[in-house]
């Protein structure tokens, strides 16, 4: 009886090792199906040209009127999917990490490169990217190469914004303070004497999220680390998803 038990246990142990091995075997997130562009090919494609990519959903910005907007990424770069046609139920199914194949048109709007008028399908696979530290790239021409990626900024200092009365405040509702609770939050952060405007995009992170609350609790002079997506609007305009005290 003991022998049998020992054999069974050994078999189970061997099985679990195999299983672990399978799990540990990393998915090749840059491997593309037939006819699908690599990130380099996508990057080289002209604006207004047809593109087909495969990527993993990293964030869901919003669903509105039968269209969803997503940040997606593979191991080499990021793709912003603007107003991807989908039902609300389909939007719910497109969870973070989901792999999708997208065919559409590459275009740019106010400097933001995106894929529009697209069709899509879900594929097997899952990947959630680590934030890429782009602190050192701030203010350089290389920053745009990480456009739309999940990124981090370390050791930034909160700078004052001016509200309607001219008073110094740590953040504004909308770019000029014309908004109210629940609207986008705009706040300034600096590094090495340069100030940048970051945003908590209210569709991406609503007023109930931790990041929205964290920004509302900021004080001028606070040292913080940030994570978010490297959105572009007439220049860099990161959409921040996490704020923590600087490490």
């Amino acid at each position: 009886m003991k022998r049998i038990l020992l054999v069974v246990l050994a078999a189970l142990l061997a099985l679990s090792c195999v299983a672990c091995g399978t799990k540990d075997k990393e998915e090749d997130i840059n491997k593309k199906s037939e006819g699908v562009m690599t990130y380099a090919e996508y990057e080289a494609a002209a604006l207004e040209s047809a593109v087909t990519i495969e990527a993993y959903i990293q964030a869901k910005q919003s669903w509105w009127d039968g269209k969803g907007t997503f940040y997606t990424q593979d191991g080499d770069g990021a793709y912003f999917l603007y107003e991807l046609p989908c039902t609300e139920e389909e939007y719910a199914k497109l969870a973070i990490g989901t792999k999708i194949k997208v065919s559409g048109t590459k275009t740019a709007w106010a400097g933001e490169v995106e894929i529009i008028d697209a069709t899509w399908e879900i594929l097997e696979g899952n990947y959630i990217a680590e934030a890429k530290d782009v602190t050192a790239l701030l203010g350089t021409e290389d920053l745009i190469k990480s456009q739309n990626m999940f990124v981090s900024f370390k050791g930034m200092t909160v700078e004052a914004s001016k509200d309607a009365s001219g008073a110094d405040v740590p953040y504004l509702y909308k770019w000029d303070g014309s908004g109210q609770d629940g609207d986008d939050l705009y706040f300034n952060v600096s590094l090495n004497g340069q100030t940048y405007t970051f945003t908590v995009e209210s569709y991406l992170c609503s007023k109930d999220t931790a990041v929205y609350q964290a920004v509302k609790n900021l004080k001028v002079g606070d040292k913080i680390d940030l994570e978010g997506f490297l959105y572009w609007y007439e220049g860099v305009n990161p959409h921040i998803t996490e704020v923590t005290p600087a490490a």
């Binding site: 207004e48 275009t107 106010a110 909308k174 000029d176 014309s178 109210q180 007439e234």
Partner: protein
């Protein structure tokens, strides 16, 4: 036994309307004006407003509420600001079935046409206008509002749907062409008094010339989109109107898919192909390109004037990107400069019906307060808006404001005030499109055709007869222009579906059987 079956059938039939009646939305009684406003009770009313992402506008709403509440301490106004009319529209539509609409709402008549498809959803205002106590210029008002004849008639007419007014105008604007005159002249052209479409297209094509390095000669930059239109809905609507071509009938018949539309789209395609023309949806805000010296003709609302020009008080672009040039404000291009026509637009205000008439009256008192000189003049100064009352337009404060154009780059910003003057001088040349249930969709479809053609050309797709045929079909379907319900008129819905015919047949038979039963019973009694 038969008697039992018939009784059961009768009870079931009696219960049926009650059961099915629960499925629909609750009916709201029509609003009747109370004889007196009840000041002993507190009324909390919600006001959904639109701000053009302009803190001054938000602050004016807040001050108006504060001042109004000081006059009516028993009315509390809760403000919700939107930056997009379509979001207001969507939220209202969502809230109608649950009767959680706002009390007072900034809106467009096109949207109201959809709201009023519900029973007594929006309050018709004609009786309120005329009410001696609380109406326009009423004896019991605690503020100096306009009399009925002091609302600019043309603006008030725009708020009528059929024979009733369902809104009051709040602000009016039109579109303007903001021109980089410096570049027009550098290209060897002289700006005419009235721009024509031909002139704009010709100058735009001339601006596409590049040097050996691929930069545009006119600005020395790698980017130049000479002609950018913000609202392609308006572009198509105005072009068709100026051509006296079909758009829709007042009853909601769709006329937009016509030869003139195709002719216009083919012309637009020519300039989309050279990239001399683009749109906001495709490229971004015309103001940003204009101020960077990357656009020559930027067409946007007069309510966007504070973003236009080198010295614009509002800007989305870095100071390093600003290029100095002379900005001139012109009316939108015309096909016939002798008979200019331009769209009238701008927010109106409507009131939603509630079960408590006192709450509706409180809403009306606030809505009407928005037409006082204090609110009208202050709000109109935030952008190239025009007050909607002659009372405000003729006031000394407003005349003084207009006389001070260019004194600074803030309140008296010249470009903004030129845009205002453009509408004041052309109010009689403005028009609106017919309003009916579905007119908002038709408006979207009008613009979408320009967007589609422009995008297709940029993507090197073939734009030919087959393309137009397919586009008309898909747009018609996408925007439900092919449905009979576009009109507010009753339509011939054709034959009833088979199941409905069967149900009606069963009901009729049942009633016949009941009749026979009752009659038989009566005859039996008589025989006894």
């Amino acid at each position: 036994m038969i008697r039992r079956i018939l009784s059961l059938l009768l009870v079931t039939l009696l219960c049926l309307p009650a059961l099915t009646g629960c499925h629909g939305a609750r009916r709201m009684d029509a609003f009747e004006i109370p004889a007196e406003f009840d000041t002993s009770r507190e009324h909390v009313i919600t006001f959904w407003a639109k701000s053009d992402t302009n803190i001054k506008q938000t602050n004016i709403y807040k001050k108006a509420i504060e001042d109004f509440q000081a006059l009516y301490p028993n009315i509390k106004v809760e403000l919700k600001i939107y930056t997009d009319y379509s979001r207001i529209y969507n939220d209202v539509i969502t809230n109608i079935p649950t009767q959680t609409t706002p009390n007072v709402c900034i809106t467009y008549p096109d949207h109201i046409a959809t709201y009023i498809t519900g029973d007594n959803t929006v309050v018709p205002l004609d009786a309120l206008f005329a009410d001696g106590k609380y109406g326009l210029g009423g004896s019991e008002l605690r503020y100096d509002g306009p009399d009925a004849d002091e609302i600019i008639p043309k603006f008030l007419e725009e708020c009528a749907i059929g024979e009733q007014h369902y809104a009051m105008p709040y602000m009016r604007s039109t579109e303007a062409c903001y021109v980089n005159k410096t570049y027009v002249e550098a290209l060897g052209y002289t700006l005419p008094e009235v721009l024509t479409w031909d002139f704009i297209f010709e100058v735009s094509e001339a601006a596409m010339a590049t040097d050996e390095e691929g930069n545009f000669k006119v600005n020395g930059q790698s980017v130049m989109i000479p002609f950018i239109y913000k609202s392609t809905d308006n572009m198509m609507i105005q072009m068709l109107r100026q051509k006296n071509a079909g758009y829709s009938t007042p009853d909601g018949d769709i006329l937009i898919f016509n030869d003139t539309t195709e002719e216009l789209l083919r012309e637009i395609a020519v300039h989309a192909e050279t990239k001399a023309f683009s749109t906001f949806k495709i490229s971004s805000y015309p103001a940003n390109f204009l101020n960077k010296g990357q656009c020559i003709f930027a067409i946007d609302s007069t309510a966007g004037a504070t973003w236009m020009g080198t010295d614009a008080p509002l800007s989305d672009i870095g100071e390093d990107d600003l290029v100095p040039f002379e900005t001139v404000v012109k009316m939108v291009p015309q096909f016939d400069p002798q008979a200019p026509q331009m769209i009238s637009q701008g927010p109106s205000v409507c009131i939603f019906n509630k079960s408590d008439p006192q709450e509706v009256l409180a809403s009306w008192l606030f809505a009407q307060y928005l037409l006082t000189n204090e609110v009208q003049i202050a709000y109109s100064q935030t952008e190239g808006y025009v007050p909607v009352t002659s009372k405000a337009q003729a006031s000394e404060v407003y005349r003084d404001y207009l006389s001070r154009a260019g004194e600074d780059n803030d309140l008296y910003y010249r470009v903004k005030m030129d845009a205002t003057q453009l509408l004041l001088a052309n109010t009689e040349n403005t028009f609106v499109t017919p309003v009916f249930n579905g007119s908002a969709s038709l408006r979207n479809a009008a613009g979408q055709m320009i967007e589609n053609v422009t995008k297709s050309i940029r993507r090197k797709e073939t734009v030919d007869d087959a393309y137009f045929e397919e586009m008309y079909r898909s747009i018609s379907s996408l925007y439900h222009l092919d449905q009979q319900s576009m009109s507010t008129e009753r339509a011939d819905l054709g034959k009833l579906p088979l199941m409905s015919q069967v149900l009606i047949g069963v009901l009729a038979t049942t009633w016949v059987l009941i009749g026979v039963y009752v009659l038989t019973g009566a005859l039996k009694k008589r025989k006894k």
